[in-house]
Symmetry: C2
C-alpha cells in the first residue's frame, strides 16, 4: 500500500493528503515527528521534513509540491491543474503564494508558536510572532475574497491545487480557532465549499489528544 | 520583447534569469525594488515580489517556480527537467530544498541581514541570524558534496533546474564572499562547472554601486 509519512497539523502534509484523496488514491498514513530526527526517516528524506510519500513500488517522494506535480503527471483521471498553460502558471503562482507567503506570514507565526513549541518543548511562544500572525491573516483573507469575487475557485473555474494549498494552510490555523471568518464572509463561503468536499473528511476528523479542535472546526455549516 | 522584473541579488530572480538563458530565450531586465511597493508593480503582482515575467503577448507570470514550470511547458528545445517521472520528482524535491530550505536557513540570514537591511534602511543586521547563516551553510555544502559524489549534476546525469536553483542561492551568498568554498572542494568544483556555463555570464557581471563583489565572484578559476 502507498504510505504517506505525515504530521497531522503540518499544512504541507494536509496539502498532499487532500491531493491524494481528490485523485481517489488510497494511502496509509504514518505519523512522523520530524523533530525527533529518527535515523530511519532521515534515510528516506535527508531534509528531515514531512510529507514523504512512499509508493507501492518503493519509490520515495518528498517536498509537497514535488509530490503534487508527480501525482498530477502520473494519475490523470482527476486533474488538479488546468490544461491551459497560462491557467497552469496562475494556479502555480497561487500555490506558491499559500505554500510560501501565507505559511511564513501566518501559519508559521501561529501554528509554530502555539502548537509546535509546546509539542517539541522548544521554548515559550513568541507573542510578537503570534500578534504578527493575527495581523497578517486579514490581508490573506482579503486576497481570497478578491479572487472568489472574480472566479468560481481561487485559480479559475475549477477546484484546483491552488484551493488545496490555501485550504491546507487555513485548516491548520482553523484548528487553533484563529481564522477570523466572520470578518471575511466571502472567504468563509469559499472555505465552506472546499471543506464540504469528501477529500476533507479525514482532515476534519484529526484530533490531537490534549489539544481538541474548536467546535466549528469540523462543522460544515460553521 | 519579453521583460523580467527583477532585483539583482534576489536568488529567485537569478533562478529565472538562468532558466531563460539556458533555454536561449531573450529578455529585457527591469530593476524593481519590491520594498518601494510601487502601485504599477503591485497591479501586475499583488504579492509585491520579484521575479515577474511579462511575455511579449502581455501574459504576466509570477513566482519563480511557476515561471520555470511555464517555461518548461512552453519552450521545449532545451529541457531543464528530465523526462522520467521519478527523476522529475527528484529534481523538484531538490528545487524545493534550495528555494525553501537553503533560502530560509542560509540566504535569508546572510543576504537579508547584510544587504537588504542596508538597502531598505530597515534596521541593523541581526548578528544571531548572520551567525546562523554561516553555521548552516556547511550542512548544505556537505549535502551538495554528497550528491555530486554520486551524480554528474545535483539531480542526475544532466544539468537541470535543481542545479539552477542551488547555484542561484549560492551565487547570491557568494556575492557577499560568504561561501566557505575551500572547506568543501567537491561542492566548489560543481559550482565552478555551473558558473562556467554561458547562462551565468550576466549574473557574474552584476555589480551594485557601493557594494562591489569580492574578486573571486566572477572568476571562473576561483
Amino acid at each position: 500500500m502507498r504510505t504517506l509519512y505525515h504530521f497531522w497539523i503540518s499544512p504541507a502534509c494536509r496539502k498532499v493528503r487532500l491531493a491524494l484523496s481528490e485523485k481517489g488514491l488510497e494511502f496509509d498514513l504514518k505519523i512522523e515527528k520530524p523533530w525527533e530526527r529518527r535515523p530511519g526517516f532521515l534515510a528516506i528524506n535527508p531534509a528531515g521534513e514531512v510529507p514523504v510519500l512512499v509508493e507501492e513500488n518503493e519509490n520515495i517522494l518528498a517536498d509537497s509540491q514535488a509530490i503534487c506535480e508527480y501525482l498530477e503527471e502520473n494519475y490523470k483521471d482527476v486533474s488538479l491543474l488546468p490544461q491551459d498553460k497560462i491557467a497552469r502558471a496562475e494556479t502555480r503562482r497561487l500555490i506558491g503564494w499559500f505554500d510560501r507567503k501565507f505559511f511564513v506570514e501566518v501559519t508559521d507565526n501561529l501554528v509554530e508558536e502555539k502548537i509546535m513549541k509546546r509539542l517539541t518543548k522548544s521554548g515559550t511562544p513568541n507573542t510578537a510572532a503570534i500578534r504578527a500572525g493575527h495581523h497578517n491573516i486579514h490581508y490573506h483573507l482579503e486576497y481570497i475574497t478578491y479572487l472568489v469575487e472574480r472566479r468560481s475557485w481561487l485559480a479559475g473555474d475549477d477546484f484546483s491545487l491552488a484551493d488545496i494549498a490555501a485550504a491546507a494552510q487555513l485548516s491548520s490555523v482553523d484548528y487553533l480557532g484563529d481564522v477570523p471568518w466572520e470578518q471575511h464572509p466571502a472567504a468563509k463561503i469559499w472555505y465552506a465549499r472546499a471543506k464540504s468536499r469528501p477529500s476533507f473528511r479525514a482532515i476534519l476528523g484529526d484530533n490531537l489528544p490534549g489539544m481538541p479542535a474548536p467546535s466549528h472546526y469540523a462543522d460544515l455549516d460553521f
